[in-house]
């Protein structure tokens, strides 16, 4: 006997996603991931000024707001042959770091935590014990009996009002929730704290970017924020960085470890097989050699045999996506036409394409980055991973799981966050030495030029490809992290990473499949940019055929 469960909408993600799983004897035996929105930004880009491409593609996503901007800038700069000044590279790293840590905090507390934390149970917690628990795991300044009494009272007043708002009708009381009420109250309090932390963390993006989301100061050639390179602005940035980093080290990481301690069985659920990174955070103008988070690919979980990833090995498959038939092609030479159709899990069931590396589905994101760095002996990552494994008393194999994915995100938040301090100091030193150059002037080539931008952003490996002809965009294409992770089956019928990860997941109550959400959320799906299309051959707008 089996049931097919459909979770649509999958909430607490960016964008529109539906997940279907087939459950047999209490376990998932098959899964389908379906992106349900198409926007067509690449088509809109055709014929426009290449300098505008980063502004347009940034609007692919307001959650990973900086990610597409930086990737698009790199693609355009690569195409027209401009090298940005060292200070521009440092500033972009700082903005990217700020984006990544803020994004991960929001993901852990506001998009993912409610899969593990029963907020309603927090109301019955003993506040004294909660304060003791918090003191035992964290040095955060906000805590103590009075603090937790106030948080609990606030939650009680909210629940007693009868208007449960965003907490209404969830899976509260589900037997899969394992935390005691005190841990639930601690986590609920930090859920609220983190709402304010992300607001302050975003100010880092705003100081040198102009605003957040969608910072405007990075432009082709560098940045425009020359008047913000003053001691008071840098101090403001450093203050916001310090405040955010204290939260990461004293709250986020301790919470991750405390919660994970109750869910160690999830160290054997939700894993995938292959991992891909493009790498990011260039520390000199040598790429990819100087990337702080290295480039690489891991196949079949073999951490001993790590290779450098090669962008030419990427092909996108469309057999199970709503596009007209075609052979798998590299994103830079793709020809694609959308063909809207009915949802049919045996045929076509998603707007997302299925990218494959060397013919294989690859997971991208924090876990892939941490695994690649770990396998390469990255000092800071290795130390943080080993500490986490030791604290949780789990083997390295536990990384290949839902738990590992969620832990990897916290690990890189700590490590990249710490690295930002060095970048701030580097910027200060340069300015002190009289170098305040953050922009390199450039001219648009007259002929046809092509460029690629490869990044590793909060949610994983991101690639933009551009072709410019006579100063206008001829073609534009991107392959984004959620396309890798949430894509459907490929031509050979191989499941996408999220689909694969769900196989074997226990489901206690088919009416409340919280276990499925845990794994799906652990990928931090971000759908509005996962669906994309361009017609490379005809250079015309896409016409849809409606079935």
């Amino acid at each position: 006997m089996h049931d097919i469960l459909r979770i649509d909408p999958v909430t607490r993600i960016e964008g529109h996603l539906g997940i279907e799983v087939k459950v047999k004897n209490g376990k998932v035996v098959d899964a389908w991931s379906s992106g349900t929105l198409f926007r067509g930004i690449e088509t809109i880009l055709i014929g426009r000024d290449p300098a505008d491409a980063p502004v347009f593609t940034q609007r692919s996503c307001g959650v990973c707001t900086y990610s597409h901007l930086i990737c698009s800038l790199r693609a355009v700069e690569n195409a027209i042959g401009v090298t940005i000044p060292p200070n521009a590279r440092i500033l972009r790293n700082l903005l990217h770091g700020a984006q990544l840590v803020a994004d991960h905090i929001v993901h852990f507390y506001h998009l993912h935590a409610l899969d593990w934390v029963d907020v309603i149970s927090a109301i019955s917690a003993n506040v004294k014990k909660t304060a003791e628990l918090a003191d035992s795991v964290s040095n955060w300044e906000r805590g103590g009996v009075k603090f937790y009494t106030q948080v609990q009272q606030r939650l009680k007043t909210f629940v007693d009002s009868g208007q449960l708002g965003i907490f209404n009708n969830a899976y509260w009381g589900h037997p899969a929730y394992k935390l005691p009420p005190e841990a639930n109250l601690m986590a609920a309090a930090h859920y609220i704290e983190a709402l304010r932390v992300q607001t302050r963390a975003a100010k880092m993006l705003s100081i040198f970017g102009g605003k957040a989301p969608h910072p405007d100061a990075p432009v082709v050639g560098g940045l425009t924020c020359i008047r913000d390179l003053t001691p008071d602005r840098i101090a403001e940035f450093k203050y916001m960085w310090q405040y955010t980093q204290e939260f990461i080290e004293n709250v986020y990481m301790p919470d991750l470890l405390a919660v994970a301690g109750f869910y160690k069985d999830w160290g054997a659920i939700g894993g995938t097989t292959n991992f891909l990174t493009w790498g990011d955070f260039p520390q000199t103008d040598k790429e990819p050699e100087s990337f702080f988070m290295p480039r690489g690919v891991i196949m079949d979980r073999d951490l001993k045999n790590i290779k450098t990833s090669d962008p030419s090995k990427v092909l996108e498959h469309i057999k199970h996506s709503w596009y007209k038939k075609g052979k798998p092609k590299h994103p830079a030479v793709e020809e694609t036409l959308p063909e809207a159709g009915e949802y049919d899990r045996d045929k076509k069931y998603s707007w997302i394409k299925a990218p494959r590396y060397d013919g294989k589905p690859c997971e991208v994101g924090p876990l892939a980055r941490v695994l690649v760095a770990y396998a390469k002996g990255h000092k800071e990552i290795k130390e943080a991973v080993d500490n986490t494994l030791k604290t949780l008393d789990v083997p390295v194999e536990a990384l290949f799981s839902t738990l590992g994915r969620t832990a990897a995100r916290a690990i890189e938040t700590v490590v990249i966050g710490r690295q930002m301090d060095g970048w701030i100091n580097e910027l200060l030193t340069n300015i002190k030495n009289g170098d305040d150059k953050i922009y390199q002037s450039w001219t648009m080539p007259e002929g046809t030029v092509r460029g690629a931008g490869l990044n590793d952003v909060a949610r994983g490996a991101l690639g933009h490809w551009i072709e410019i002809e006579k100063g206008k965009i001829k073609n534009y294409q991107y392959v984004v992290p959620s396309t890798w992770n949430l894509g459907p089956r490929c031509d050979k019928g191989k499941l996408g990473p999220v689909e694969q990860s769900l196989i074997g997941t226990p489901v206690q109550d088919v009416e409340k499949p919280i276990e499925v959400l845990r794994t799906v959320h652990s990928f931090d799906p971000c759908l509005s940019c996962a669906v994309h299309v361009v017609d490379y051959d005809t250079n015309k707008s896409c016409k849809a055929r409606i079935c």
Partner: protein, 313 residues
């Protein structure tokens, strides 16, 4: 006044100082274009709304940047909006429920609060091709909009996509996207911006809670308190424009001196927004402040009418 004291006590318990509190009230009233004498009354509204106004927040074709911006409000903080000010019945990005439980929340809220809830719409609606380019839970966004929005007390379109179609409606608009207003043939209150400043959403909501009505609007649905004057008119670099002092290249000496960005494509003269006064991220910075030209992101069709962004129009 009692209310104010009680509210202040509550705020103090949460670690907010008296100074912060007064700034908070003054900031909001200023955002609404009200005189400072209204500040205590705003505090009263926040202290004890009888029933938290129900809000249904719909996501159509968008990037969630408007939600990201909204949750960065700091007067009041987003947790206060969620727990004490509003009752957010449906919001896909932050709600705990998923799947059919989430859908039930939507249907129940529309029924229970018929004619009483505020709908906040984020994103454009796929209209052509039977709306097939945008679906949630098997329904097209057009179907969802039609089943929810006509039952709302008022609909606030948050961001340029919901208000005017936004980026996916830019030429050639391959998915056939339209604004909420065009898709449904109704009038909406619009808080455009890419993203909109959260202060303008909060100001609008306060106006509603406080006066029991929505603020006065311009001819394209924007609250006058936020969109009444051009960026150019209030720009701190305006004197450089008058003096003919322009930046002609990023990174130049003129850029360092903070000259006018008009010749680098600044669309401030054609853009009606309070950005120069309010700034972003709690006044941390704004586009022109960071040396980059205004792109006119609060104006309809700015992706077509204001581009190329970095060239003088």
């Amino acid at each position: 006044m009692d209310q104010e004291e009680r509210f202040y006590e509550k705020m103090r318990e949460k670690g907010v100082s008296r100074r912060d509190f007064m700034r908070y009230s003054a900031y909001l009233t200023a955002a609404m274009g009200l005189s400072s004498s209204f500040a205590p009354k705003v505090a009263e509204v926040f202290a004890a709304p009888k029933q938290r106004p129900p809000v249904i927040w719909l996501h159509f074709a968008e990037c969630t940047g408007c939600t990201e911006s909204a949750i960065k409000t700091s007067y009041p903080w987003i947790d206060e909006l969620i727990f004490e000010v509003l009752s957010i019945e449906y919001h896909e990005t932050i709600m705990a429920a998923a799947g059919h439980q989430a859908e039930k929340n939507l249907f129940d809220a529309v029924e229970k609060y018929e004619g009483k809830f505020i709908c906040i719409a984020e994103g454009a609606i796929a209209v052509e091709h039977n709306g097939v380019y945008g679906k949630t839970a098997g329904k097209t966004h057009l179907e969802i909009a039609k089943s929810v929005i006509p039952n709302a007390l008022a609909t606030i379109c948050l961001g340029t996509c919901a208000a005017y179609g936004g980026i996916q409606a830019a030429k050639p608009n391959p998915g056939g996207f339209k604004s909420v207003s065009e898709a449904l043939g109704i009038k909406t209150l619009n808080i455009p911006g890419c993203p909109p400043d959260p202060v303008n959403l909060v100001g609008t909501i306060i106006n509603y809670i406080f006066f029991g009505r929505l603020p006065d609007l311009d001819d394209i649905g924007r609250p006058l308190f936020a969109y009444g004057e051009t960026v150019h008119d209030k720009c701190p670099r305006r004197s450089h424009y008058e003096d003919g002092e322009f930046v002609e290249e990023f990174g130049s000496e003129e850029a360092k001196l903070g000259y006018c960005l008009y010749k680098l494509g600044c669309k401030g003269p054609d853009t009606y927004s309070n950005c120069p006064l309010r700034g972003f991220n709690d006044t941390t910075n704004w586009c022109i402040g960071a040396g980059t030209p205004c792109k006119g992101c609060v104006e309809p069709n700015f992706w077509d009418t204001m581009t190329p962004f970095y060239k003088e129009s």
